[in-house]
């Protein structure tokens, strides 16, 4: 219970910091995505249950509240990232912090690619690929760097769970 409360508190602080603190100091492509770290953490470290699926979807919806004009876009993407990591985590050494950091990097890339594909299929934001792909790598790198700090700051993520 305390662990869950700490997780939610950390998520809330990270979400608000990324939308109102970092933009004052960093320019657009270098603002880290901290919420994805929590989805990766759920996928790799927390034993599977359907509540976690809902949590990943909800984290995506919260991200959508502050980002872009497509409500549900990140909900779908974060759920996909969560399920992908969850399904592969059995074969991985999930206690390794490097795995979470790599997961965040690949998650950001997947986020960009899926945003592009979904908007291509369902919307008419043509030309988005220019800003999307030009900003993707710096965004992924700063998010990875931020997750390096987060992985140390959140004790749960380095201690691991019994899977």
């Amino acid at each position: 219970m305390i662990r869950t409360a700490r997780f939610i508190l950390a998520l809330a602080v990270a979400t608000l910091a990324q939308v109102s603190f970092f933009p004052a100091w960093l320019s657009t492509p270098f603002i880290p995505n901290l919420t994805l770290f929590f989805v990766v953490h759920l996928g790799l470290r927390v034993p599977f249950c359907w509540i976690n699926c809902l949590a990943a979807f909800f984290i995506g919806l919260v991200q959508d509240c502050f980002s872009g004009s497509y409500f549900g876009l990140h909900g779908f993407i974060y759920l996909f990232v969560y399920l992908l990591l969850e399904q592969t985590s059995e074969r991985l050494y999930t206690d390794n912090n490097l795995l979470i950091i790599m997961g965040v990097f690949l998650g950001i890339l997947l986020d960009g690619v899926m945003t592009f594909c979904l908007l291509l299929l369902f919307s008419e934001a043509d030309g988005i690929y220019g800003s999307l792909f030009s900003g993707l790598i710096p965004h992924a790198l700063t998010s990875t760097a931020a997750s390096l700090l987060l992985v140390r700051a959140i004790p749960d993520s380095s201690s691991g769970y019994a899977r």
Partner: protein, 273 residues
């Protein structure tokens, strides 16, 4: 069949969950301009904390600019520089107040010129992903703001309100790929549609090859569609390209407002019909 369902239960349920999320997303695309209860709740709950973060940012900025630098100098130069520090602090505070005064006075002047009753707002949160361009401002439905209202700054148009919470709202900037507004070239009255290109630029679409558009031309809102008032500056033409073929020309526009450094904005609560 039952065995198959049992064996792949998790995968099937995961697939179903993903499918449901995709349906949820695609259904929401039709209601892009309306605010969902969850969005309202999140925006309402987050607003005071975002205001707190903005306050912290401002405090750090003012400490850094007004105190730390001078303290370092003080250590190097002793009593003489302590006097300079005090004078400088006064000067900085005075200049800051002067600049703020000028900015707010200009905003008031603009407010008087604009139709309807504009509501002044401050930016409290910005976009995280590099591919969307939105900001969150500190006023919402309690102040009469609703979806679709235009947002302007001192030097020109900023975008439109797309989501509204009780105490905060989300603004789609004119540089977002989903943004479009009817525009006209101030000098030649050539018309087109200004669309966001992501980053810091926009493009003028559907401008005929024969239209007279030159580098440096001012682009302003045409008033067509009734959403944005007529004659508000959008930006300046920075590139004009006419290909050998095709009926349109390629025009790139730099917005009049520096969208990455916005503080006070105005929401036009009663736009012209």
């Amino acid at each position: 069949m039952l065995e198959f369902l049992k064996k792949y239960r998790v995968q099937l349920l995961a697939g179903f969950a993903l499918f449901t999320a995709l349906i949820f997303f695609s259904l929401n695309l039709r209601r892009k301009d309306s605010t969902y209860p969850l969005e309202k709740v999140v925006l309402t709950v987050a607003t005071p904390v975002m205001g707190l973060f903005t306050g912290v940012n401002n405090a750090i900025f003012s400490v850094w600019e007004g105190y730390l630098f001078l303290t370092k100098v003080k250590e190097e130069n002793g009593r003489l520089l302590r006097t300079i520090k005090i004078q400088n602090e006064r000067l900085i505070r005075g200049n800051e107040a002067l600049l703020e005064n000028e900015r707010l006075r200009a905003l008031l002047d603009m407010r008087a010129r604009l139709p309807g009753s504009p509501v002044s707002v401050s930016v409290i949160a910005e976009e995280v992903t590099p591919w969307f361009r939105t900001v969150v401002v500190n006023r919402g439905s309690q102040d009469g703001i609703r979806e679709g209202l235009p947002v302007v700054a001192l030097s020109g148009i900023v975008g439109q309100v797309i989501k509204v919470g009780a105490m905060s709202s989300k603004v789609l900037l004119l540089t977002d790929h989903a943004s479009a507004m009817a525009a006209t070239i101030q000098r030649s009255r050539a018309r087109g549609v200004v669309k966001g290109k992501g980053g810091e630029l926009c493009s003028l679409e559907f401008a005929s090859r024969l239209d007279d558009i030159k580098l440096g031309d001012i682009v302003e809102t045409s008033g067509v569609g009734g959403l944005y008032p007529k004659g508000i500056p959008i930006g300046q033409v920075t590139m004009v390209k006419k290909g050998e073929y095709g009926i349109f020309q390629t025009v790139t526009i730099r917005p009049a407002v520096n969208l990455s450094r916005m503080e006070e904005l105005l929401v036009l609560v009663s736009p012209p019909k």
